[in-house]
Subunit: 452 residues, 2 copies
């Protein structure tokens, strides 16, 4: 079947102008989940696109933005789930864009615009893949496809897990392709096999109803000090998280995970130089460093308290706020961590520190031995003509858990991205050759899924 790659590529290049026009149409419609701008207008465009490509499409209301579910029936019942999202990040700062974010423009083999990479371009690449498979296979798909396209990914997919639970029968599949796949800096296809979970919280403490003169510091309680003392009970300078039971549900990486991690290309010096860091946390390097992705983290995202202007102001702050996120590894549970955090603060004498939960996602992972992983890697190597990189666990988080942990299916990535897509930033773009290659890769997976 290897020869079909060339036929897929030939088909997609032949119809490339049309696919780019479809991306442009979707990207011209702002759909910013952070502000809710244009979400209601964008959802029908997704349905239309699915229908235009011979798939059924139905819009489902949720407490947030609509979810669209599409189906394309193939020769085999074996079904592949394709996840995408139609919402995008806010376009600001507008002045930093070379061309306006919602007026997509092609320059030097790239298509620029908000949503081109994340994730409307990828959605269209999958439509192109379905077209190509049908064209090459005489109009029929060798396997069935179910599309799951949501509109709240950029705000943490707060309603996706509940939707998947409720609609599980409609989403039946043997595996899923998640978003945000693509190639690394060396042009090798990267197959993501899992994500860390996240618990995002805001800690706040108020010791007085107004700030006071620091000449009274021997009398009046300082909220900034309360926060410092509370925070330092969570993690010490050795980076060890000291909340009792925090690590109780941590599953260590398998030997295969470690092998895959050790095999991943990672240029320590380059990464350090990019951020201008004197050294990595704990002074780790190389293998020890990359294996740390299997340990959970506790990050202060920001702290604010008291006077922050120029010079000094002799005041005692009455209020302090710290935003934190915990990146969780399999099989930690953000609900469990939140309860442990509260109990720990209480136990340490910080019952006055209030916790507000900003959001949670669960960790999830796919076994590297799963046949879908092998298929994705093998077809990727054929299309890109370079060895695939298997990434057992991403440092970041993803709503992929909503599918993986609910439907109990393998979830992998394959797509049109590359390391410098400027996702979430000005001048977001895709390279048009990546679009073609990514669509070919998806087509190859669809073509062979029924053979697994």
């Amino acid at each position: 079947m290897e020869g079909s790659s060339e036929r897929f590529e030939s088909f997609i290049r032949q119809h490339l102008e049309g696919y780019l026009a479809e991306i442009i149409r979707l990207c011209e419609q702002p759909s910013v989940s952070a502000t809710r701008e244009g979400l209601r207008e964008c959802a029908p465009l997704v349905c239309e696109a699915l229908q235009d490509h011979g798939c059924s499409a139905r819009k489902y209301e949720t407490p947030g933005s609509p979810v669209i579910v599409g189906h394309a029936t193939g020769k085999a019942e074996r079904t592949l789930l394709l996840y995408n999202h139609y919402d995008v990040q806010p376009p600001e700062p507008l002045e930093a864009w070379t061309s306006p974010p919602f007026e997509p423009a092609v320059r030097e083999g790239r298509l620029y615009g908000r949503g081109t990479a994340d994730d409307k371009g990828e959605f269209v690449a999958r439509l192109a893949a379905v077209d190509a498979v049908r064209a090459v296979h005489g109009g029929a798909l060798p396997c069935s496809i179910v599309w799951l396209v949501e509109g709240e990914e950029e705000i943490g997919s707060p309603h996706l897990a509940a939707f998947v639970r409720e609609q599980a029968s409609m989403l039946g599949c043997c595996g899923a392709l998640w978003e945000a796949g693509g190639v690394n800096a060396g042009g090798r296809p990267v197959i993501g096999l899992g994500y860390r979970g996240i618990l995002a919280v805001e800690l706040s403490v108020e010791t007085m109803n107004t700030e006071a003169h620091s000449g009274k510091a021997h009398l009046l309680p300082n909220a900034a000090w309360r926060m410092v003392w509370a925070l330092q009970t969570l993690k010490g300078p050795d980076e060890g998280i000291t909340i009792p039971g925090f690590h109780a549900r941590v599953t260590p990486p398998s030997l295969l995970d470690l092998e895959l991690l050790d095999a991943m290309p990672l240029d320590d010096d380059q990464l350090r130089a990019t951020y201008g860091a004197a050294e990595f946390v704990r002074g780790l390097k190389g293998r020890d460093l990359r294996r740390r992705v299997f340990e959970p983290t506790c990050t202060i995202q920001g702290i604010t308290s008291g006077y922050q202007g120029p010079g000094d102001k002799t005041v005692i702050p009455h209020r302090a706020v710290a935003k934190l996120d915990f990146r969780l590894v399999p099989d930690q549970d953000p609900d469990d961590i939140l309860a442990r955090l509260r109990a720990h603060l209480d136990e340490q004498g910080f019952a006055d520190v209030h916790i507000h939960c900003h959001g949670a996602m669960w960790p999830c992972r796919t076994d590297a031995h799963d046949p879908l992983v092998g298929l994705t890697a093998r077809t990727g190597e054929q299309v890109y003509r370079k060895p695939a990189v298997l990434s057992p666990l991403s440092g970041g988080s993803s709503p992929a858990y909503a599918v993986a942990n609910t439907l109990h299916v393998p979830v992998v990535t394959a797509g049109i991205g590359y390391w410098d897509n400027r996702m979430h930033a000005p001048d977001e773009h895709i390279r048009i050759d990546d679009f073609v290659a990514g669509a070919c890769h998806i087509a190859r997976i669809i073509e062979e899924l029924a053979l697994l």
Copy 2:
């Protein structure tokens, strides 16, 4: 001599319109040291006022604002130094003033305007006192007066100590009346005998050249955590300052100091209610609480790091800043404390935490047994007809050290203030009766100084 109080009061009330006009003239001239607005214009007005009242006056340049020194020769060589300042705090927020800050207005027995209380009104009260003493004593002063009027008090008097050192011979005196004296809420004259010093610093740490995604928190160093860990080495939840040698030069209060502290009126519940604090630091109350003024403090004035907007943002901050002040008790030395802070941070592994010094003032105190204290208290009790309150040490800081520690003379307060003057705030004002009483009190001190 007790009868002279009435004669002083009579004289001052007779000429009250003129004195108020002088305050208004000085207050109409903005002189904001924080912005340098109007300082050069205000200094000559101070010279003119001194000369108008029969004193010599000379303006001295400093690296900052001019200092004015005035002299009035009396029958005795014994000399009293009168300290005032002609600079004021910024008037903002302007919309919170009932009448414009630089258009002084009389309402219901009060004179409103920026500088009326702090410190132009007090300066004029002392001119009135000199007039009154001369009038009652046939044109002659029983002691000599030296005026020291600076223009940088509201920004920490950065050039006053050097000026006093250089011009010590010209400032010879047997004691000084500082600014900001007056009566407490019970109408009792408060005689301040000392101030804590201060060291104000900004700690900053930078771990990267830009913020990073918190999915990389197992790799990249977090500046907010560095700051939390550095800060918690300075002071623990028991409020104990843990910098080695920090307390080395602390002189404990004398038995008399403790007696005076214990005798000071302090309504714990009222103070707590004012700030809405659940309890005071360390849960202290009453006598134990007020004695804490003789212990140094370490205050976080403010902390800033990373993301501080609404919701959360999954970032690792690359920079963190904390502003701190240390209130120092006799005989701590801010230079010594700064060196110990640096050594401590280095020793604790925080050589990467940079220290920027925002300013320093030294602690100073006057022995409660000093004859000038007795004179100030006794005359205060005669004028106000209530027992004086002796405050052995203020929780705040003052440039009084520049005179006390350089000229080695007692420094006390006596003046026109009361607890609700709104100094540094909108609707700053003096009560006109306080002006008269404060001027009488100063006149009585001048009258009797030579008899000490």
